[in-house]
């Protein structure tokens, strides 16, 4: 029987002999992830279940990244629940402040997730790891608790939509633009319950960080997962993070897709998604008159080193507009240090931006840059729902790092070529 890469990974994690879309399966987990918002509920449920012992202390990752460094007393209590649980059950992959990072940048960087894995995370952007050729999906806290107990998760085998990207990417266009354009094309529920497989010659040349950005936002189209077949770029990345276990799956030539969509990437300009849905995407040039109060560069979508290299290229020798607050947040300690070593941090600070410690921060309206009433931000984050970054009457426009940096300089949404 012909299978997609998603079906092959799922099959390899069950006792079934064959599977098809729509089947309910009970699958083994290679990694179960929780953060300071979702893990406390899972931990409470786990302890109440009386199980006593976690299924595998090496296959659980706990990352306090949402409201840390603790933004208030209640957040400190929540983060503490993770530490106490990690101590009690000798969880190997607990990441304390100073060693932590935004979970979806951190886990790949630590080699904890990789090709062929089945990963669940109590965070919707867990779909990020599909960039490595893993099946990876967001679940809730109760799923995570059940995962801690059994090492398994119930899943419905999804249908797959194949997205084929052809051609050469234009200047200032990256993975973020491809995914914003795609979500704009199919809508916020365009891939509901489905796996999104990204392929085509443009993807085969796409750097790892851009692949992470794309798979990260599969959820914004309602997708269960996003995935890219592992190739030479994946393997090079995995060598750099000392990943040992690599299981390479590929979709069969005659695998079944519920839909195939093709894009000529030459035609795709840098994208911006207007409030209040990621699907309100269009070319940046359409939004040139939109004034901004804040620009945020960071998050699990675009907080990686190549994102900061791009932002620095735009910001070098320039000054942030006097009406704009530029907030730059590296996703992990490693990226933070790289940005300092490469001189990027100096460029940001010289330009008049702030360069902060890793955190999810303002992306979900946590801290480190909350918007006030009537304020407007451009952000390299993943969601622009009403009130996402603060006040219900504030607005978020989504973009890539080059556009966010150019906009910070201009004081309005701007194409980097305008500088």
């Amino acid at each position: 029987m012909a299978y997609t890469i998603t079906e092959k990974i799922l099959l390899a994690h069950t006792k079934e002999k064959a599977i098809s879309p729509g089947d309910f399966i009970y699958a083994k987990i290679d990694m179960a992830l929780g953060n300071d918002v979702t893990a406390p509920i899972a931990i409470k449920e786990f302890e109440a279940s009386g199980t006593g012992k976690v299924f595998d202390r090496k296959k659980i990752a706990l990352v306090p990244d949402h409201f840390t460094p603790a933004k208030d007393r209640k957040s400190a209590v929540q983060a503490r629940i993770l530490k106490d649980f990690a101590d009690k059950h000798r969880i190997e992959n607990y990441f304390e402040l100073g060693r932590m990072g935004v979970e979806h940048a951190l886990l790949p960087e630590k080699g904890l997730v990789g090709p062929g894995d089945l990963v669940i995370g109590a965070d919707s952007h867990t779909c990020t790891y599909g960039a490595l050729g893993a099946f990876s999906t967001g679940v809730g806290s109760t799923d995570l608790a059940a995962g801690f107990i059994t090492g398994c998760v119930w899943l419905k085998v999804p249908e797959t939509i194949k997205f084929v990207y052809r051609g050469k990417l234009g200047k200032w266009v990256g993975g973020k633009d491809l995914i914003l354009h795609t979500i704009g094309d199919i809508g916020v529920d365009g891939a509901l319950y489905k796996a999104m497989e990204f392929t085509g010659d443009a993807i085969k040349k796409l750097p790892m960080d851009d692949r992470f950005s794309m798979c990260n936002m599969a959820i914004e189209a309602g997708g269960k997962s996003g995935i890219i077949e592992p190739d030479a770029i994946t393997l090079k990345y995995e060598r750099s993070v000392n990943r040992k276990r690599i299981v390479k799956f590929k979709s069969d030539r005659d695998a079944k897709y519920c839909e195939v969509r093709e894009y000529d990437v030459k035609k795709i300009e840098p994208q911006v998604s207007a409030p209040h849905l990621p699907s309100n995407a269009g070319a940046v040039t359409k939004f040139k008159n939109v004034k901004i109060d804040q620009s945020v560069i960071g998050s699990c979508t675009n907080g990686r080193i190549s994102d900061f290299r791009i932002a620095a290229k735009v910001l070098k020798g320039k000054k942030v507009n006097s009406n704009v607050r530029l907030i730059i947040i590296p996703a992990t300690q490693k990226i933070y240090l790289e940005a300092i070593k490469e001189g990027l941090a100096k460029i940001f600070i010289d330009a008049g931006g702030v360069f902060s410690t890793p955190s999810c921060g303002p992306c979900l309206g946590g801290h480190l840059g909350i918007l006030g009433k009537g304020e407007r931000a451009i952000a390299t984050t993943n969601r622009n729902f009403r009130g996402r970054m603060g006040h219900p009457e504030s607005e978020v426009y989504l973009s890539n790092p080059a556009v966010a940096a150019a906009s910070a300089i201009k004081g309005r949404i701007a194409h980097p070529d305008e500088l």
Binding site: F24, V37, T38, P40, I41, K44, E45, S49, H66, F67, K71, D72, K74, S75, V77, Q78, G121, A122, D123, S124, T126, G138, V139, G140, S141, T142, D143, A145, A146, I149, T150, W154, K156, V188, D189, L192, Y193, I219, G222, K224, L277, L364, G365, G366, R383, F385, R386, G387, R388, P392
Partner: protein, 161 residues
Amino acid sequence: MKFKGKVWKFGNDVNTDEIIPARFLNTQDEKELGAHCMEDIDVTFAKKASKGDVIVAGKNFGCGSSREHAQISLKGAGVSCVIAESFARIFYRNAINVGLPIFEIKDTSDINSGDYLEIDLDKGTILNLSENKECKMQPLPKFIQEIIRAGGLLKWVKKRK
């Protein structure tokens, strides 16, 4: 099993940031989360809603984050069930896993805020008492029914062991 409730109607793509904004995610307390339910769409919702009320929405209800605080908040506000044309997948599984009843029907445009619904789980029907109209809910897959009958995922897991 039957239950009755007053309808609060919402549109398409109601997201989890609207159901319970992230600024309240530093607690897991049902009462506290319930008091802020739907706050960014309708500040008065939590005050107006009473026990047993029903949320009815369009497509893609619960899109966005994986926070189970959304289900806790809805329960805390007294919401007995959610009816929508479709649900975002993480919201769907969280609702099943924690035992917040959710139902899919093809078209919710006939149901309005203030209507009274009678939901009959055994017959799989939703009767709009205000409009005297009945519609069929999409039957839940057998596997999902098994989890619901067990009383949620953790009880199902225990039984399975």
